[in-house]
C-alpha cells in the first residue's frame, strides 16, 4: 500500500506511517470481516499448465596445457523437461515431470604428471553416450493454512538407477505472515557401471540417502520477505566415482546446509532484488559459501533478470591433485578441490495470453585462484555454457 508522492510535498506516505493505536484497534476489527480475510490462503493452482523446456549444457574442452591423453571434448548435455500440473477438485493438485538428459563427451579419468612436471588430466577415451530418463509425480494437498506434497521420482540410465521419495509440508501462521516448512526424503541409488572406454572395477553397488530440511520464511513488509533454512543429508554406500581410476571415498557422507534468502520489491522501479546465500559443510572436510544476487526487472508483460552467483569450496580431506594411493581414502576429482566459481546469467520471460515463454543463458567459470580457501589447483576444473528455452501453456 502506498500513496505515491509525485510532485506532492508534505503528504505523508502511508508506507512510512506507523499505525496509530487507534487505527490498529480499528484494524483488528476490520481484519475479522470476511472481505479482508486472506485469500492468499493456500490453494491449488487455478489452471492446468503444460510446459516444455529445452536446455543445452556444454562444457569447455580441456585446455591443451592441462591435458595428457584421451578425448579433450568434455560433456555436452541436452536436457528436455516436460511437465503437466493440474488442480484436482478444490484442494488437490498433481504434477507429472519427465526429464530426458542426453549426454555425450568425455570425462576426467585420472590426473597424472605431464612432461613439464605439472599435473595433467587423462580423459576417458572416445566420447561416451548416455541417456538418462527421470519421471516424477507429485501430489499436493492444500488446506486453509498450508499444503503438503508427496513426490516419487525414478531416474534411470544404463548404469544407474535411483528411486526417491519426498514429503514436504508448509504451514502458515495465523496472520499468514510466517510460513514454516519441513521436508524429508529418502532415496535409493543403484550403481551398475558398464565397461566402455575405461575399465570399471565394481559390479553393482547401492547408495542410500536420507535427508531432512526445516525452514521458515517471514513477510517483513508489503514488499519484503526473508527466509532461512537448515538441511541435513546423510548418504551411505558406494560413494566413490566408478568411472575414475583413483577414487576411494568413505562410504558415509553427512552434509548440512544453512541457507538464507531475501526478496525486496521496488514498486517505483517495478523490479525486485533477489539475494540468496548458503553455507554448506560436510564430514569429508569440505565446506563452502554460495551467494547469489539477481535483479528481476518487470516490463509490461516481459521480465528480464540478470543474475550473478559466486561459489567457493574447501577441498575434501582426502583430495590431492594427484591421488595419493597410500592413504585409505583418496581422490583426484576436481569437484573435491578448493576453488571459486562465478556464474553470470540472464533470464527472460514473456507472457502472451495463456502462453508463457522463457529464455536463459549463463556462463560458469571456475578457478582455484578465485576461491576463499587454500588448496592446490585441480587441472580439470570445469567451465560451461548453458542455454535454455521454454514454453508453457495454461488453460482452464
Amino acid at each position: 500500500m502506498a500513496v505515491i508522492e509525485r510532485g506532492v510535498n508534505n503528504t505523508p506516505s502511508l508506507t512510512t506511517i506507523k499505525r496509530s493505536p487507534l487505527v490498529r484497534t480499528l484494524g483488528a476489527a476490520v481484519a475479522a470481516l470476511p472481505a479482508y480475510q486472506s485469500t492468499n490462503a493456500d490453494a491449488p493452482p487455478e489452471f492446468t499448465e503444460v510446459g516444455l523446456r529445452y536446455s543445452h549444457y556444454s562444457e569447455d574442452s580441456l585446455s591443451e596445457d592441462k591435458f595428457i591423453a584421451g578425448a579433450r571434448g568434455r560433456y555436452d548435455i541436452d536436457v528436455t523437461q516436460l511437465w503437466i500440473e493440474a488442480p484436482i477438485g478444490s484442494s488437490w493438485s498433481i504434477a507429472v515431470d519427465v526429464q530426458n538428459d542426453s549426454m555425450s563427451g568425455a570425462s576426467p579419468w585420472f590426473v597424472g604428471t605431464q612432461i613439464d612436471g605439472n599435473p595433467g588430466v587423462i580423459m576417458s577415451g572416445a566420447s561416451i553416450y548416455d541417456n538418462r530418463v527421470e519421471v516424477g509425480a507429485t501430489t499436493r494437498y492444500f488446506w486453509a493454512d498450508g499444503n503438503a506434497g508427496f513426490n516419487v521420482t525414478q531416474s534411470k540410465e544404463d548404469d544407474y538407477e535411483a528411486w526417491a521419495m519426498a514429503f514436504d509440508v508448509a504451514w502458515n501462521s495465523d496472520d499468514n505472515s510466517r510460513t514454516w516448512s519441513a521436508s524429508a526424503s529418502t532415496s535409493n541409488d543403484k550403481v551398475e557401471p558398464v565397461d566402455g572406454n575405461i575399465p570399471v572395477f565394481i559390479d553393482r553397488e547401492d547408495i542410500d540417502t536420507a535427508s531432512i530440511y526445516f525452514g521458515v520464511s517471514q513477510i517483513l513488509s508489503s514488499t519484503a520477505i526473508v527466509r532461512i533454512g537448515l538441511g541435513y543429508t546423510f548418504s551411505e554406500g558406494y560413494l566413490s566415482d566408478p568411472y575414475k581410476l583413483f577414487d576411494a571415498r568413505p562410504d558415509e557422507h553427512s552434509r548440512t546446509a544453512l541457507s538464507g534468502g531475501y526478496r525486496k520489491f521496488f514498486p517505483e522501479a517495478q523490479g525486485a532484488i533477489q539475494i540468496d546465500y548458503r553455507y554448506y559443510s560436510d564430514d569429508w572436510g569440505t565446506d563452502s559459501h554460495t551467494a547469489e544476487i539477481a535483479w528481476q526487472q518487470n516490463f509490461d508483460r516481459f521480465a528480464l533478470t540478470p543474475y550473478l552467483r559466486y561459489y567457493s569450496q574447501r577441498e575434501a580431506d582426502f583430495f590431492s591433485v594427484i591421488a595419493d594411493l597410500d592413504e585409505k581414502f583418496y581422490a583426484d576429482d576436481f569437484r573435491l578441490s578448493s576453488y571459486g566459481a562465478m556464474t553470470v546469467g540472464l533470464r527472460s520471460s514473456i507472457q502472451i495470453g495463456e502462453w508463457q515463454m522463457e529464455g536463459q543463458l549463463e556462463r560458469y567459470e571456475s578457478d582455484n585462484d578465485w576461491g576463499l580457501y587454500d588448496g592446490e589447483a585441480a587441472p580439470a576444473l570445469v567451465n560451461f555454457w548453458r542455454a535454455t528455452i521454454g514454453i508453457s501453456w495454461r488453460f482452464d
Binding site: M1, N9, N10, L14, I17, K18, L26, V30, T39
Partner: protein, 321 residues
C-alpha cells in the same frame, strides 16, 4: 452498463457504472485484451455483491436484515445474524468505544427532528424522548443473535456499509485476478494496485460547493480514500451552518466540517475515521484526526481546507474562500 476501451496495444479498460446504495457506482479495470470477458463477469459479480449488501443492510428496505431487527425492537426477540454482520457489529462497537460514543449506529432516529432535505429544524422538544432511545449500550448481543432493547430504537449501518462494500468489491476483483482497478462508490474510492502502466491511480476530492470541481488530486495505489460529508445537506440556524451529522449525546447537528476525507489501507477504516471527524466540532476533529495519524483533508463550511492532504494541492486552492 459496461464499456471497454483500448488503452495501449496490450492493455484495455473495462468500465462499469450502475447505481447502488442510493448513489452512483463506478468500476474501472485495466487488463490484458484477452481478459475482457472475465473482466465483465468480475464487474457483474461486484455489482451483485454490492446489491446483496444493500439488500441486507439498507434501512429503507422492508425485507432487509436491519429492518427486521428494527421491527423487533423492544419485543425482546433476538434476530439471528451471520458472521459478517457480527463482525460489522464488532467493528461498530470498537468505533463507538474509540469515538467516545460519537459514532453510534442507533442515532438515526434523531433525523426525525431534523429535516435536512428541506434544511429545516424540526420540533426540538421531541429530542429528550428520542435521545432516550439512542444508545449503543441498548443493543443486546448474545450468541443467539441481536436485539434492540427499547421499542422505537433503530439500527443503521449507513455509516459503514458503503465503505465496507467498496473494500469487498476490491477484494472480489483481486480474487478474480484483476490487480489494476479502481472502485468508486459515491465518494468512497478504493485503488486496487496501480494502473497497468505502473503509475498510481489519480483521484480527485471534489469541492463541496461545486461537486464538479476538483479540490485536490491525490495519487492512490493499493489504498482507499473515503470522504464523509454531504455538501448539499446542511441546516442554517440563526445564520450558522450546521452539517447533517447529528451528535448522539445532544441530538443537535454538529457545527463542523463540510467534508472530511481520509486515506487508509481499507475504505472501512478511512470512512470510520472521516465520519467520526465530521461528528466532532472543529478542535475535536483535529485532535481525532491527529490521533488516527492517517492522511486527511478537511473542508470547512466556509470552504477553507486543512490537513496534510490540503498541503498537497495547488497553492491557489489553499484557504480558498
Amino acid at each position: 452498463m459496461a464499456s471497454a476501451g483500448v488503452l495501449t496495444n496490450s492493455t484495455i479498460v473495462t468500465e462499469h457504472t450502475f447505481k447502488v446504495m442510493g448513489g452512483p457506482a463506478r468500476l474501472v479495470i485495466e487488463h490484458a485484451p484477452d481478459h475482457a470477458a472475465s473482466a465483465r463477469v468480475a464487474c457483474q459479480a461486484v455489482e451483485a455483491l454490492l446489491r446483496d449488501l444493500e439488500a441486507r443492510y439498507s434501512r429503507y428496505r422492508e425485507d432487509s436484515l436491519i429492518s427486521q431487527i428494527n421491527r423487533l425492537a423492544g419485543t425482546g426477540k433476538l434476530t439471528t445474524v451471520d458472521e459478517e454482520t457480527l463482525a460489522l457489529l464488532e467493528f461498530c462497537e470498537r468505533l463507538w468505544e474509540q469515538s467516545q460514543g460519537l459514532f453510534d449506529p442507533t442515532a438515526g432516529i434523531l433525523r426525525q427532528v431534523w429535516d435536512f432535505s428541506r434544511g429545516q429544524q424540526g420540533d426540538v422538544s421531541e429530542l429528550p424522548n428520542l435521545l432516550g432511545k439512542v444508545s449503543w449500550t441498548k443493543v443486546v448481543q448474545s450468541e443467539e443473535g441481536i436485539a434492540l432493547s427499547d421499542a422505537g430504537m433503530e439500527l443503521d449501518f449507513g455509516g459503514i456499509v458503503k465503505e465496507y462494500g467498496a473494500d469487498k468489491a476490491a477484494q472480489s476483483l483481486r480474487d478474480s485476478g484483476f490487480n489494476h482497478a479502481l472502485i468508486e462508490l459515491a465518494g468512497d474510492i478504493v485503488a486496487v494496485g496501480n494502473k497497468c502502466s505502473g503509475a498510481p491511480w489519480q483521484v480527485g476530492i471534489s469541492d463541496p460547493d461545486a461537486p464538479s470541481e476538483t479540490l485536490v488530486t491525490i495519487e492512490l495505489s493499493n489504498c482507499a480514500l473515503a470522504t464523509s460529508g454531504d455538501y448539499q445537506r446542511f441546516i442554517e440556524i440563526n445564520g450558522r451552518r450546521y452539517s447533517h451529522f447529528l451528535n448522539p449525546h445532544t441530538g443537535w447537528p454538529v457545527e463542523g466540517a463540510a467534508s472530511v476525507s481520509v486515506i487508509s489501507d481499507s475504505c472501512l477504516t478511512a470512512g470510520a475515521v472521516a465520519t467520526v471527524a465530521c461528528l466532532n466540532a472543529s478542535e475535536g476533529a483535529t485532535a481525532w484526526l491527529t490521533t488516527a495519524g492517517l492522511p486527511w483533508l478537511r473542508v470547512e463550511q466556509a470552504g477553507e481546507c486543512s490537513g496534510p492532504l490540503a498541503l498537497a494541492h495547488p497553492a491557489d486552492a489553499i484557504g480558498r474562500n
